[in-house]
C-alpha cells in the first residue's frame, strides 16, 4: 500500500517535471511526444524527448543511487549521519574535475581534438576517474582498519583531496574557476541519451550488487560480532556493500556533480515512513523516496516561471535538511534508535 503510493507519487512528480520548464506543456502533449504522435511540432517534440526525458531519467537514477548508497553507508558505519560520500568519493571526483578543468583544459586542448572528446565527456571521465580512484584507496583501507577508523580515514582523505583542489583553484584563472564552480553546483541536465547507457548500467549494476546483500546488511545492524555469530562473513559483506555504495555515489558524482543531502535524507525518511530497518523493505523504499526527492529537487531547481536555473545542490540541501530534521523529531530519540 505504502509502496503503491510511493510509486504513484514518483510517476506523478516525473510527469509534472516533464510538463514544467522554461516552456510549459500540457500532460497530453507530453504523452503525445513520448508516443510519437503527429499533433506536436518537431521543436516541442525535441524539447521533451531530448532534454526533459533524459533529465528525468537522470534524476530518477541519480536519486535512487544516492539514496541507496546513503542507506548502505549508514548501515555499514552504524551511523545516522553517514552519507554516500563518507569515504571521500565526492572529493576524489572534484579533484578529477579540477584537474580536467584547471590543468588539462588550459594546456591540452589538442587532447580534446585528437581524441574527439567533448569537454563535457572529459569532465565526466575526470570526475568518475577521481571518484573510483578514491574508492579504490578506501576499499583497500577498509580491509586493514575497523569500521570507526575507516569513517575517520574517509574524512581525512576528503580533507586532503579538498586541500589539493583548493591549491588548484588558487592558481586558476577566473573563467576556469567558474567552470569548476558550475560543476560543483550539480546538474541533472548533462547526461545525454548517448551517455545514458553507461550511466544506467553502472547504477543498475550497483543496485543489483546491493540486492545480493539485503539479508547480511540486516545482520550488520546488530554489530559485527552478532552478525558473525549468525554465519555472516562481515568482511565480505562490508567490502561488497561499500563497493556497491561507492559505484553508485561515484557514478552520480561523475555524471551530475556532487549532490548532497539526498543520501542522508532518503533513508531517514524511508525509515520514518516504513518504521523498519529491514533492508528487504527499506532498500526498495529508499530507492523510491530517493527518486522522488531527487525529481522534486530538480523540478524546483528548474524554477518554473523563472528564467534562471537554480543550483541543484542548494535545492537538495533546502529540501533535505528539513526532511531530516522532521524525520528525526518524529522518531524522537535518535540516540536510542541508532545506539
Amino acid at each position: 500500500m505504502r509502496f503503491a503510493i510511493l510509486i504513484l507519487s514518483v510517476i506523478g512528480i516525473a510527469l509534472t517535471s516533464a510538463c514544467l520548464g522554461s516552456q510549459p506543456f500540457s500532460p497530453g502533449k507530453v504523452i503525445q511526444a513520448i508516443l510519437g504522435g503527429d499533433g506536436i511540432s518537431p521543436v516541442h517534440q525535441q524539447i521533451i524527448t531530448d532534454f526533459r526525458l533524459p533529465r528525468i531519467a537522470t534524476a530518477l537514477l541519480a536519486g535512487s543511487a544516492l539514496a541507496t548508497a546513503g542507506l548502505i553507508m549508514q548501515t555499514v558505519f552504524r551511523n545516522p549521519l553517514a552519507d554516500p560520500f563518507v569515504l571521500g568519493v565526492n572529493s576524489g571526483a572534484s579533484l578529477g574535475v579540477a584537474l580536467v578543468l584547471m590543468v588539462l583544459a588550459p594546456t591540452g586542448i589538442r587532447l580534446t581534438q585528437d581524441l574527439n572528446l567533448t569537454g563535457q565527456s572529459l569532465v565526466i571521465i575526470g570526475s568518475t576517474g577521481g571518484a573510483f580512484l578514491t574508492l579504490l584507496i578506501a576499499l583497500f583501507l577498509s580491509r586493514r582498519v575497523d569500521v570507526m577508523s575507516l569513517l575517520i580515514v574517509g574524512l581525512m582523505v576528503s580533507y586532503t583531496v579538498g586541500a589539493m583542489v583548493s591549491i588548484l583553484m588558487f592558481f586558476s584563472m577566473a573563467e576556469r574557476l567558474q567552470a569548476f564552480l558550475n560543476w560543483s553546483f550539480g546538474n541533472y541536465g548533462n547526461v545525454s541519451w548517448q551517455q545514458m547507457p553507461v550511466f544506467a548500467i553502472l547504477i543498475i549494476g550497483g543496485l543489483s550488487l546491493t540486492a545480493l546483500f539485503l539479508k547480511p546488511l540486516d545482520a550488520l545492524l546488530i554489530g559485527s560480532h552478532y552478525a558473525e555469530s549468525l554465519g555472516t562473513n562481515t568482511r565480505r559483506v562490508r567490502f561488497f556493500s561499500l563497493l556497491a555504495a561507492s559505484i553508485l555515489a561515484g557514478t552520480v558524482t561523475g555524471f551530475c556533480g556532487p549532490i548532497g543531502f539526498l543520501g542522508i535524507a532518503a533513508p531517514h525518511l524511508s525509515r520514518y515512513l516504513f518504521k523498519t530497518s529491514r533492508h528487504l523493505v527499506l532498500v526498495p523504499a529508499t530507492i523510491l523516496v530517493g527518486a522522488g526527492l531527487s525529481l522534486s529537487a530538480d523540478l524546483v531547481s528548474k524554477a518554473p516561471g523563472l528564467d534562471a536555473t537554480l543550483p541543484l545542490n542548494a535545492i537538495t540541501a533546502l529540501i533535505g535538511a528539513p526532511v531530516i530534521i522532521v524525520a528525526l523529531i518524529r522518531q524522537r530519540n535518535l540516540k536510542r534508535v541508532f545506539g
Binding site: 539479508k215 546488530i222 554489530g223 549468525l230 554465519g231 529491514r278
Partner: protein, 341 residues
C-alpha cells in the same frame, strides 16, 4: 526437539586466548582444556580484566584463537562453515541494541539467518520458531514494540529469544545480566538455567554475580587473579577455598560459611553474639560494617553482644571489658559502634 536429540559438545584443547595485532600477540589465558556439554548451565566467574569476554568471544568463533584447537561435536572449528557453526552456537552479549528501527519480532527473527535463503524470507517453520522463542522468554507481548524503546531487561529477553530462535545447541552469554536490577537478574538466571535443562542447550554465561552463580550454575569456571582457570562444582570450589582465593582482596574476604563477602576482619575487633533470627543477622551485618568480625571464642573477643528479642522490641546488651551498655534501638546501637571504631 529432534535437532537436539544428541548432546553436542563444544570443547577446546590447549587453547590460548588473547589478542593479536600487527604481529604482536598478547595471551590472556593459556593452555585451556575445557568442554561444554549439552544441557548444562555453566557460569564463568572471575575478577574484571581476566579475560572472560575474550574467552567467550574465542569459543564463539568471532575472535580467532591464538593457539590450540576448538572443536564442535568432535569436528575442528575451522572445518565447519560459518553457516553451520551459526546453527550450533549462538551468543548473547551485554550490548545488544540494533541500530535503526526494528521491532522485537524482526530482531528475534535475525536468529533464523543461518536457515533462511539469500533474501532472508521466513517460512512457516521459521516463524513458528521465532514465536516459540519469544514465548519461552516471556516476550510475546513485546513483539510489536521497537527494540530501541524497550527497557534493558526487556531488550535482554528479546536478545535471548533471538539466540534461541537460532536453535543452537550451545549458547554463550557474556554478562547478560550486567545492566539489570536484582530481581530481573534472578529471573533471567532462573530462566536460562531452566531453558538449558529443558532444551538440552549447553550454556556458558559469564557474570559478576557470584552469589547468583553459586546458586544456579551446574558447574563453575573460575578465572583466578593469576590467570588460571579452575573448574568445579559451586560447592566444591566454595569449600576448597578456590573462591576465596579468586575473589578475596585486601579489604574483603569471601566467607564460605555465609557464601558472601565480608569486610576484612581486624583480629583486635572481634565480637561474640548470642541470640538468633533476623535481628541477630542484621546486628551482625552492622558490626561487620564497622570492622568487627564474629567469633565463637570469648577470650579474644573485645565485645560480647547479647540480644533480647521478645518478638516485638529487641534490645541489645553489649559488654566491652567491664563496661556494660544497653540499647533499645538500632540507631543508638549503631551510633555507639561508630563512635567506638
Amino acid at each position: 526437539m529432534d535437532t537436539r536429540s544428541h548432546n553436542v559438545e563444544l570443547a577446546c584443547e590447549k587453547l590460548d586466548v588473547g589478542y593479536s595485532h600487527q604481529g604482536k600477540t598478547e595471551t590472556i589465558l593459556s593452555k585451556l582444556s575445557l568442554e561444554i556439554q549439552g544441557g548444562e548451565f555453566i557460569c564463568l566467574l572471575g575478577p574484571n580484566g581476566t579475560g572472560k569476554s575474550t574467552l567467550i568471544r574465542t569459543l564463539s568463533g568471532v575472535q580467532p584463537a591464538i593457539r590450540g584447537e576448538i572443536s564442535l561435536d568432535g569436528m575442528p572449528f575451522n572445518s565447519i562453515s560459518p553457516r553451520e557453526r551459526a546453527r550450533q552456537i549462538s551468543i548473547v552479549f551485554t550490548d545488544n541494541a540494533p541500530v535503526g528501527m526494528m521491532d522485537s519480532f524482526s530482531f528475534a527473527s535475525l536468529g533464523r539467518h543461518p536457515y533462511s535463503g539469500w533474501l532472508g524470507i521466513l517460512d512457516q517453520h521459521d516463524l513458528d520458531r521465532v514465536r516459540w522463542a519469544l514465548d519461552v522468554v516471556g516476550a510475546t507481548n513485546l513483539q510489536a514494540r521497537q527494540v530501541a524503546e524497550l527497557s534493558d531487561g526487556e531488550r535482554q529477553k528479546v536478545s535471548i529469544a533471538r539466540a534461541l530462535a537460532q536453535e543452537a545447541n550451545i549458547m554463550l552469554l557474556d554478562e547478560p545480566t550486567a545492566y539489570l536490577d536484582l530481581p530481573r537478574k534472578v529471573g533471567l538466571m532462573r530462566m536460562l538455567r531452566q531453558l538449558s535443562h529443558q532444551e538440552n542447550i549447553g550454556m556458558l554465561m559469564s557474570t559478576h554475580d557470584l552469589d547468583l552463580a553459586l546458586r544456579h550454575a551446574d558447574r563453575l569456571w573460575l578465572i583466578t587473579k593469576t590467570g588460571e582457570l579452575i573448574q568445579g562444582l559451586p560447592e566444591e570450589l566454595a569449600l576448597n577455598g578456590e573462591l576465596a582465593r579468586a575473589f578475596g582482596s585486601e579489604n574483603l574476604d569471601w566467607d564460605p560459611s555465609s557464601g558472601s563477602f565480608q569486610v576484612h576482619k581486624d583480629p583486635c575487633m572481634q565480637f561474640t553474639m548470642d541470640g538468633g533470627g533476623p535481628v541477630a543477622f542484621w546486628t551482625r551485618r552492622a558490626f561487620e560494617r564497622y570492622g568487627y568480625g564474629l567469633t565463637q571464642d570469648e577470650s579474644c573477643a573485645s565485645l560480647l553482644v547479647s540480644i533480647q528479642d521478645d518478638g516485638k522490641n529487641p534490645a541489645w546488651i553489649v559488654r566491652a571489658g567491664d563496661d556494660i551498655h544497653q540499647f533499645k534501638t538500632i540507631p543508638s546501637l549503631i551510633n555507639w559502634i561508630r563512635n567506638r571504631s
